[in-house]
């Protein structure tokens, strides 16, 4: 059962290697490995479902000497989302990168990205996470620049540098931790911190946490550190944008969540959490506002990512104030659900946007009416994704938002309610600014799908966010609810 933990890393890595070696068959091998990965993640999720938590000491070297892999509910959920999203993106990319010259660059980097994501969600070791982060950052930046235009290069170089700054800061935190606690393992570190031996080690731990979160927040594009995100995500090729927005920033967020709530939980304070929440609120408002003003579809999507990440950070201050219990575990599941829903929705949105861009030759929102009206499936995708972004039922984010509101009220932190309200309405505005163009006087399209291989995956992703996740949340709760340590 624990084999799947390693395979989660090895399968995409092996795929990447093969694709590197055999560029002529890149698309086929790539797709096959992603499928294999999905299968493996399914097994892994099943394992977590049954056993609550899967643990593995790599090479049989127990921490602190060795590296531990742990798959709990949260990891499994993120992994599952990643697997499904990457599968859809891969199918889509097979169509998108029809030019073999571009495909041979895309596939190996893409599989390496997948490797690093899987590694990130599984590793329970601070330094291993650093390496994964760097792998993620490099592959993401390289992928983002595949478009080759100057803007893409500039944006992704900036992304790369920002990422490096973030990971260096993170690494400093890791070094501090090692210097103080002589371990890099989550569980051991958490145990030491919980014991609270000395005030000084608490101080050190807190500083380290601060540094790590500083670094990760940069990578997670938390407002106002999001400056790099819109150009980078807006200029990348569609499948890459999808992966960047749906998965890559999510990984950084996942790490913050993991560190904050699990490893460093004894050190966190309400004030700090409030700061995160405040920044999240800023992200929600500013990101939505900018999305509303964006003139290009992909920019809109990118700013919307900024806003959506803000929602995720809103959970921190609320979770902070809650004692363990149903409300808290619900809320924790809600933040996961929100992340998943956004992952699916945003990837669907970007894939659809990419298709629209291909068909229209541009992505200026004001002039997209004609194209949108010709593409019913893609328009539906945009609508479904938009529904999830706004947080309307039957999307997963609706349920999450409901619980978030409930948490805020139960906590007496009613001001977040106002942020949510404003964010929701702004999201309505920017989503429907786009959807309005889908209605017009163009001739009726004859068929639902224009190009099933490009439109299908996006539609399925969006339907996953709005539809499946909106009603089938119970499995997620099962997955998370039984995972110890996070209650």
């Amino acid at each position: 059962m624990t084999d799947s933990l390693v395979l989660a890393l090895v399968v995409p890595l092996a795929g990447a290697l093969l694709v590197t070696a055999l560029p002529a068959h890149a698309a086929r091998i790539g797709l096959f490995s992603v499928m294999l990965n999905t299968l493996n993640i399914a097994l892994l999720t099943l394992g977590v479902w049954q056993h609550d938590e899967l643990q593995l000491a790599l090479g049989d070297w127990a921490p602190p000497l060795g590296i531990g892999f742990v798959a709990d509910g949260l990891s499994a959920a993120m992994l599952a989302m990643t697997a499904l999203v990457s599968l859809a993106i891969s199918v889509y990319a097979g169509d998108y990168f029809r030019d073999p010259a571009r495909a041979r660059h895309f596939w190996p980097l893409w599989l390496l990205l997948l490797t690093s994501l899987n590694g990130l969600f599984l590793a329970a070791d601070l330094f291993n996470l650093y390496v994964n982060l760097e792998l993620l950052g490099l592959s993401a930046a390289a992928l983002g620049a595949l478009g080759g235009q100057r803007t893409a290069l500039e944006a992704n170089l900036r992304y790369l540098l920002v990422g490096l700054l973030g990971s260096m800061t993170y690494l400093l935190g890791v070094a501090l931790i090692y210097s103080g606690f002589s371990t890099l393992d989550f569980a051991q570190l958490a145990a030491q911190l919980a014991r609270g031996d000395a005030a000084a080690s608490g101080l050190l731990g807190a500083t380290a946490l601060g540094l790590m979160v500083m670094g990760l927040a940069l990578k997670a594009a938390l407002f106002p550190l999001h400056f790099w995100l819109p150009p980078a995500h807006g200029s990348a090729p569609a499948p890459v944008s999808a992966a960047l927005s749906a998965l890559v920033v999510k990984a950084a967020f996942y790490l913050i969540l993991r560190l904050w709530l699990e490893v460093f939980a004894p050190l966190t304070t309400q004030g700090a959490a409030n700061l995160l929440g405040l920044l999240g609120a800023g992200a929600v408002l500013w990101g939505s506002w900018q999305a509303l003003r964006a003139e290009r579809l992909k920019l809109l999507a990118a700013y919307s990512t900024v806003a959506q990440l803000g929602y995720l950070f809103l959970f921190f201050p609320i979770l902070q104030g809650l004692p363990a219990g149903e409300t808290r575990s619900n809320l924790f599941a809600a933040v996961t659900l929100m992340a998943l829903a956004h992952g699916f929705a945003k990837s669907g949105l970007f894939l659809a946007a990419g298709f629209v861009q291909q068909q229209a030759g541009h992505d200026r929102i004001a002039e997209l009416g004609t194209t949108l009206q010709q593409l019913p499936a893609t328009t539906l995708t945009l609508a479904l994704a938009g529904t999830a972004l706004i947080g309307l039922p039957p999307s997963g984010s609706f349920v999450a938002k409901w619980l978030l509101l409930g948490g805020a009220m139960a906590n007496g932190q009613w001001w977040w309610v106002l942020v949510l309200l404003a964010g929701t309405l702004l999201a309505v505005a920017y989503v429907f600014r786009l959807m309005t163009r889908a209605f017009g006087l163009e001739p009726t399209p004859r068929h639902f799908f224009t190009q099933a291989r490009a439109e299908g995956p996006a539609l399925l992703l969006a339907a996953m966010a709005t539809g499946v996740l909106g009603v089938a949340t119970a499995p997620l709760w099962h997955l998370l609810g039984t995972s110890g340590g996070l209650g």
Partner: protein, 92 residues
Amino acid sequence: MDAELLYASAGFILFVLGIWSLLLHRLLIRKLIALNIMGSGVFHLLIATAEHHGEPADPVPHALVLTGIVVAVSATALALSFGRALRGDGDD
């Protein structure tokens, strides 16, 4: 003052200097150097951590530093390549 404390102290200073340079210099090459300086700062700290009086050096931080260096090299290489591509765009 112990050597490792000096190392650590230097490491912090290097780290901060690196950030300063990264943030305030506009040239890519300087930024990359700055990043490497930051890395060096962290590595200094790790080396300092490895030192335990009366014991052999802790191998783990050493290994971490080695890994870190490779990662830093890779990142630098990629970033430089970006810069070259950008320049090539402009010059040709």
